[in-house]
Each structure stands twice: as C-alpha cells, then as structure tokens.
C-alpha cells in the first residue's frame, strides 16, 4: 500500500483534474438527459383517453424543470472549472448578495406558480365526472379484476361486503331491485367500454389495496376495502388495453393484469346485452 502515500506529489495536479472532470461529467449528464428525452426511446405510451391535459402538464413540468436542471448544471460546471484552486489563488469574501438572492427566489416562485396553477385547474376537471357518465364498478381481489355494469336501469344495485361468499362474489344485496339487471363480469374477465363516452369507474376491493392502472388512459386509482373510490375517463381510441395493478398487493402483484376493450357504441351495446344479468345467474339464490 506504499504507493498510496507515494502518490502525494502528483496529488495537486490530480486534485485540479478532479474539478475539470466533474465539470465535464455534469455537462455529459445534461446532454444525455436531453438526447434521451428528445429521442423518445422511452416515453409515455400512446394516449387513448381524454386526459391529454395531463400530458400537457407533464410536458410543461418537463420544460420548467429541464431549464432549471440545465441552468444549475451549466453553472455548476462553469464554477468548478473556473474556480478550481491554482497557485496563488484567493477566494472572494462574499457572504451574501441580497438582490441576487431576491431575484432567484422570485424567479423560482414564478416557475412554481406556472406549474401549480394550471395543474390545479386541470385537477378540478379530473375530480368532477360529467353527469351523464356511464357508471361501471371495478372490483379487485388477489389477483384479479372483475366488473359490474348497471344494466338497463342505469343504476348499480346495493352491495354489502359482508354478503360476499362463493355464490355471491360481489356481495350483492339481492333484495335491492336495482340489482336485478346488473351485469357481472367474473374475475379475469374483460372490461368493455364504449369509445367517446365518459365513464365513471367506482372501485372496490375485497381484500387488500390494489390500484387500477391503464397506462394509455393515464389514470390510476387505488382500490380500498371498505371504501368506494372513483375516477373518470373518456376512452378516445378503440382497441385492447392492459389493466395493471399499481399498488403492491402480495406475491401475485406483478401478475395481476386484466384486459380492457374499447369498442364502438353499437358493438358495446351488443356485447352488453349478450351478458346474463344478476337475476338470470343468481336467480336461484334470490329466494
């Protein structure tokens, strides 16, 4: 280990090189970040819902933070290079600079307002579902998604988690007349939605937390036992999409995928009318 101590004479030069190297590396990080972002190799999956405003907000945020990131790193790299210690150099005694500090705070404040004000404006739409939205229930359990449609009356019947058993997996209150025409899609089944129509998803969970996540829709909402959580979306593209679980829910978490089919209104109606209603499937248990 003697050489470590022998390294002392060239230590000064090596030390100065450190600053230049760190400056170069800081700039490299910025360049790579910009190139990767612009190239779009890894970017949001193609949008398939009305939530383009979320993408816009994300891009605004990316620009504002990107400018800050580039600015800070360029300043850092310049200072590291420019003020690296050399023979006979002295630092300037400069404990504060009120005007500079004030301007930096004002500038940062403006950046924050640019982000949060439109963000909250979009959010107010995000949590206000349209009155005419189609209501569909999502029910989660380890590690499946199942769904319930309101049927002809447009109303989901009452449920009670205490009623859940093998014959009544949704815990449906069969005494409720609104339950009779509900349509149940059993665990592992597909969620069908009409294109261009707002849908309000009412989410429940039987056991632990899960999270209903469709990357192309940009939406994500936890399902919580004991609660009904809500999120709304208007699918804008037809096709098949994956439903992923985004909240750790046990060993099958990574494998809790479902499928979602967005189709035209007529196809959707045709599919829906082909599904048996509660009174048809559970008629026997009703008595």
């Amino acid at each position: 280990m003697g050489y470590l101590r022998q390294a002392a004479p060239c230590y000064k030069i090596a030390t100065i090189m450190q600053g230049i190297a760190l400056a170069i590396v800081s700039i490299l990080f910025v360049v790579v970040a910009v190139v990767v972002t612009v190239s779009g190799i890894w970017w949001l999956p193609p949008l398939a819902s009305n939530w383009g405003a979320l993408d816009t907000m994300l891009i605004i945020t990316l620009i504002v933070t990107g400018v800050a990131f580039i600015g800070v790193n360029v300043a850092l790299a310049y200072f590291l290079w420019r003020y690296r210690s050399r023979q006979g150099m002295k630092a300037t005694f400069l404990p504060e600079h009120h005007r500079l500090e004030k301007w930096l705070i004002v500038l940062t404040g403006i950046g924050i307002v640019i982000l949060v004000a439109p963000g909250l404006f979009v959010y107010s739409n995000f949590i206000r579902p349209p009155q005419d939205a189609l209501v569909v229930e999502v029910l989660s359990q380890q590690w499946f998604w199942s769904y319930r449609y309101p049927g002809q009356d447009g109303k989901l019947g009452g449920v009670n988690p205490k009623l859940i058993n093998a014959d009544n997996p949704f815990g449906i209150d069969l005494a409720d007349p609104a339950s009779q025409d509900d349509v149940l899609i059993s665990p592992g089944g597909q969620l069908h939605l009409p294109v261009g129509k707002p849908v309000l998803l009412e989410l429940r969970s039987k056991d632990v937390l899960h999270s209903f996540y469709v990357p192309q829709f940009r939406i994500k909402m936890d399902t919580v036992p004991g609660l009904v959580t809500r999120i709304w979306v208007t699918p804008t593209e037809t096709g098949t999409f994956e439903v992923l679980c985004a909240e750790l829910c046990g060993i099958g978490h990574f494998n809790m995928q479902g499928h979602l089919i967005v189709e035209s209104e007529t196809e959707y109606q045709k599919w829906l009318t082909e599904q048996p209603t509660v009174s048809q499937t559970m008629g026997a248990t009703m008595k």
Binding site: F29, E96, I105
Partner: protein, 583 residues
C-alpha cells in the same frame, strides 16, 4: 486533600462525570459522545451493508429474471421491504442523527459532552436492540413493502411474512422510536443549553443547525409511526380493527369490521414525509460546511440557509398526503397538499442556489469530501426537480407507483443523503481517528459511486414515463411496456454490482486508514469551526482540556480581506474584526 489536583480532578469538575478507565466503560458502555458516535456509525454502516446486499438481490432479479431460482416472488418482496426499511431508518436516520449528531454537536458548539450522557448511551444500546430485532425477523418473509400498508401487512395469509416478519419489524420500529426519542431529546437540549460562551444560535455551523432541526422533527414525527405501528401490530396479532374493514380473503370472511386502511397511510406519512427531511437536513448542513471550507469562502446567504432549514422543517409537516394522491382519500385534500408540496421547493431551491453561489468566486479544493459534497448538490438537484412532477397531482397520477418515483426518491434522499454521509466521513475522519483517509482510494470510491448512481437511477425516470410499475417481480407478458426495458434493467443491475464493489474500497479505506493512514494534524482542512481547535486529535474525554473554548465569530470567516491566513477560527478574538465580529 493535600495533594495537588490531578488532571482527572480538574476534568471531573468540568464534565460532571468521571473519565472512564476500564476498557469496558471506555469503549463498550461509554457515555462519551464521541465513542457513542463511532458506535452508531459503525453499526449503521454494517446495517447499511446488509441493506445494500438486499438491493443487489432486487437488482439481480430485475436484471436477469428467472436466472436465480432462489429469488421467488416472496423473497423478492422481502428484499424490497427490508432494503427500504433498513436504508431509511436503520442506516440513514441512525447514522446522520446518532452518528454525526453525536460526534458534531458537542464539538461544534463547544460543549464537553451531551446534556444527558447516560441517556445518550442508552439511546445507542436501544438502537442496537432494534437492529437485532429487525434481523431476527429476517427468517420470515415480510413482503408488504417498507410502507407496511394494511390490510396486507395486518392479515396473515394476505402477504408472505404478514405473520412474524411484519411483527418483528413493527416491534423493532417501536424500539427504534424509543432510541430516536432519547437521542433527539439529547441533541435538542444540548444545542439549546450547552453552547460555549459566545456561541450564539446565529453563529452555529450549518451542520449543527441541520441536525438540530432534524432532531426536533424526529421528536414530532416518530410518535405518529409509533402509534400507527402499535395499532397495526394489534390488528395483526390481537384481531382489532383499527385499519381493517370487512375483508374477504380468498373467499374467507375474516371478522374484521369498521377500520380504515387509509388512516394508517395518514399516520405513516405524517411520520414518513418529515422523515425524508430528518435524513436530508443533517446532510445539507454537513455539505454546506464542507463546501464553504473547501471553497475557502463563507457559505453564501447564511441567514437564508437557516431560514430555509426552518421553513423546510415546518412545511414538511403539512405535505404528507402528496404520497396519497391516488389513495382514495378525499380528492379535495389534493389542492392543499399540492400547493404546500410545490411551495417547499422554494426553500430547497434557495439552498441549492446558495451552494452554487458559495462555489462562485471560490478557491475550490477537490478533496474527496468536496467531491462528495458537490455530488450531493448534483444528485439533490437531479432528484429534487422531479419532485415537482410528483407534487403536482395531475402530473403525479400517471407517474405515481412507477419507476419515476423510485428514481426520484433514490436520488433525492437515498443517494444524496449517502453522499452527505460519505462527505462527512472523509472530512471528519482525521478528527475522529487522528489519521487521514487515503485520497487515492477515496477518489476511486467517489467516481465509481457518483457516475454509477446516475447510471442506475437516472434511467428510471424514463422507465416511469413509459409506465413501468414499481415493486414488480417480473415484467414478462406485459405488452404495454417497452421491450427495451429488459436490456436497460440488465445494464442497471451490472452497474449496481460495480457500485457495490466500490463500497468495498470504501470499507477497506476506513480500516486501512484508521490503522496505517497518514497522521493527521489538528486542523488538516484549515477549518474555522470549533471541533478543529481541540487540544489534541482525536479530542480527549471532555473535549477541551481545562479551558472551554470561547467563541468570537461566526463559523464562516474564510478568506476575510486583510487577514493573514484564509481562515479565522471561531475562537480567535480581534483583528481583523470587519467580517466576523459583528456576526
């Protein structure tokens, strides 16, 4: 007593407790803050090593799925849970408060020891018990994630290890809270009551300020974890229903009723968010002092730095539910928590500007400590800016629970805090051990770790944009995700292993330098602060010998115009008075 007072007796008068003579009381059950600091540091580093091994196991599965048959989903989730808990609580919190807090507070404020030395000793041994309890729990899987969300964590059968794995973890956390409370009370009291003559609050080094505010946050935040943990343990073991509503698990009704899972999340994050700052504020303070010293320049905007520490500390208690934007809580909460969260960016930005402006017109010396301090600023910015995505609800919704979040918190509080720790260790090692650390090994350690950290965590942002969910054992069969994900994951895993190997260089450097390192002078960095003005290095029991230091100036009189040297220690009175005396 006819005999002249021995050195010991003079000493006892000042410290209030005897200098220990036996090996046992000197190194094991010591009440000396410096020994306790080293005990905390060594224990936390070893525990952190275990946490790092867990991160390798996680990475092996992600990089080379299916290649390692011993990593099954239940082990994988155990590694994820233990890695998170160990790193946040048992490494970062313990090392920054217990290690640096203990070492630096008395030395930097000119005290002879902590206000309550016995309590201090008890704090360490309680911490050690909590570590042992955590490790005993390793035989069971513990797969609920470090956030321990019920019902999964409370229902045996819902999750691997929801029996003894979780129970040991909860009991260990409760013990840790007891330890952190004893420590926190000590740190806060010592800073308020035991400062040397002339050491006003507005003359304290920022390291002390950061640790002081972090200790206060810990005292206010940890009780929420304690309460949540106790209730969760009761739900788990005694069948209560604090957090468990009616639940049907695999077709079985469990008999719980009336609880609310979201309540736990509020309690957890009421602790969990300040916890982020409990970890980062001491690191910020340490980095501020090192940058000022190595730039040979006063820290820029000292008062603004203190105000932003206080602002961050205060606001950190009212932002917690930004972790819960899609949890199903009342959606109107979102407005407040988004605004408060983005507001906290302002004091954080002020700190970043001030570090940069301290470098501006400085005389920069790139020792390893300085490299890590600058590394801290770099990763804090790279990680902190993405907080502006996650704090703004509508941007958070697509990104939350994806790798974007993993990249964000690893850079901003994991890597940054660790860099703060490394900077501090390279900087204060000569004082603690009386020998210099090897700069050559230090630089190898820095460059591999710094570049490696970026290569591991930076790509995670783009994975997050692509929608890759976190805490997934495997991504096979998911068509939405980009296929290039696998190659990238393998690359990140290889880098993680290389970075891990670099930590062995660090460990070797610590041991080698402690034994064979170059003898350190009393003040090798030519620093102004009190810990470098002790009569001997390492400082003696009681720190100051017969005379306690008197403080005449602030901690940052570097390159004062008209002074002969480019630093004036805080203990120097008089000329040139211009800069220091009025502060």
């Amino acid at each position: 007593m006819a005999q002249p007072a021995s050195k010991d007796e003079v000493h006892v008068e000042h410290t209030g407790h005897h200098e220990p003579t036996s090996l046992w009381s000197k190194y094991i059950f010591s009440q000396d803050h410096k020994v306790i600091a080293l005990q905390y540091t060594i224990t936390a580093l070893l525990v952190g090593g275990v946490g790092m091994v867990f991160s390798w196991l996680i990475r092996l599965q992600l990089g080379f799925p299916g290649q390692f048959s011993f990593i099954q989903p239940e082990n994988y989730l155990q590694f994820v849970t233990q890695h998170g808990m160990i790193m946040v609580v048992y490494l970062l919190t313990a090392l920054l408060l217990g290690g640096f807090g203990n070492y630096l507070i008395p030395l930097m404020i000119g005290a002879r020891d902590m206000a309550f030395p016995f309590l201090n000793m008890l704090s360490y041994w309680t911490y050690l018990i909590s570590v042992i309890l955590l490790f005993v729990g390793l035989w069971d899987a513990t797969g609920a994630g470090w956030t321990l969300y019920p019902p999964q964590s409370a229902l045996p059968g819902a999750s691997p290890g929801a029996e003894w794995g979780i129970r040991f973890m909860l009991i260990s956390l409760a013990v840790f809270v007891a330890s952190a409370t004893m420590g926190g009370l000590n740190y806060v009291t010592t800073v308020l009551q035991a400062r040397a003559k002339g050491m006003t609050l507005m003359r304290m080094p920022l390291s002390v300020w950061g640790i002081f505010v972090a200790a206060a946050l810990a005292l206010l935040a940890f009780p929420a974890l304690f309460v949540g943990g106790v209730m969760l343990l009761l739900d788990n073991m005694a069948g209560t229903s604090f957090f468990i509503p009616v639940v049907n698990l695999f077709g079985r009704q469990l008999g719980h009723e009336g609880g609310n899972p979201i309540l736990f999340q509020h309690l957890f994050w009421y602790f969990g968010h300040p916890e982020v700052y409990i970890v980062i504020l001491p690191a910020m303070g340490i980095v501020s002092d090192i940058i000022a010293n190595r730039a040979r320049k006063p820290i820029f905007g000292y008062k603004a730095m203190i105000l932003s520490i206080l602002a961050i500390g205060g606001i950190s208690f009212v932002v917690w539910a930004h972790h819960m934007f899609v949890s199903g809580m009342n959606p109107y909460f979102g407005y407040w928590f988004a605004v408060a969260t983005l507001a906290i960016a302002i004091p954080s930005a002020v700190k970043t500007y001030n570090w940069l402006l301290t470098l501006w017109k400085g005389n920069l010396h790139f020792s390893t400590a300085m490299l890590y301090a600058i590394g801290f600023v770099s990763t804090f910015v790279a990680g902190g800016l993405t907080g502006l995505f996650l704090g703004n609800i509508v941007v958070d919704v697509p990104l939350t629970d994806t790798y974007f979040v993993v990249g964000h918190f690893h850079l901003v509080m994991g890597v940054s805090a660790i860099f703060g720790i490394f900077a501090g260790i390279y900087y204060w090692f000569p004082k603690a051990c009386g020998r210099m650390m090897s700069e050559a090994m230090g630089k190898i350690h820095f460059w591999v770790t710094f570049i490696g950290a970026y290569l591991i965590f930076f790509p995670m942002y783009w994975l997050g944009f692509s929608g890759v969910p976190r805490r997934y054992y495997s991504f096979s069969g998911i068509d939405t995700l980009p296929p290039s994900l696998n190659g990238l994951n393998a690359f990140m895993t290889v880098v993680a292993l290389v970075v891990g190997a670099a930590q062995l260089v660090f460990a070797f450097n610590l041991i080698w330098s402690a034994i064979k390192g170059k003898k350190a002078s009393a003040n090798p960095w030519q620093a102004t602060t009190l810990e470098w003005q002790t009569p001997t290095t390492p400082p003696p029991h009681g720190n100051w010998g017969p005379n306690e230091p008197i403080v005449y100036r602030w901690a940052y009189d570097y390159s004062v115009p008209g002074a002969d040297e480019d630093y004036i220690p805080q203990t120097v009175d008089g000329v040139p008075a211009r800069a220091g005396a009025k502060r």
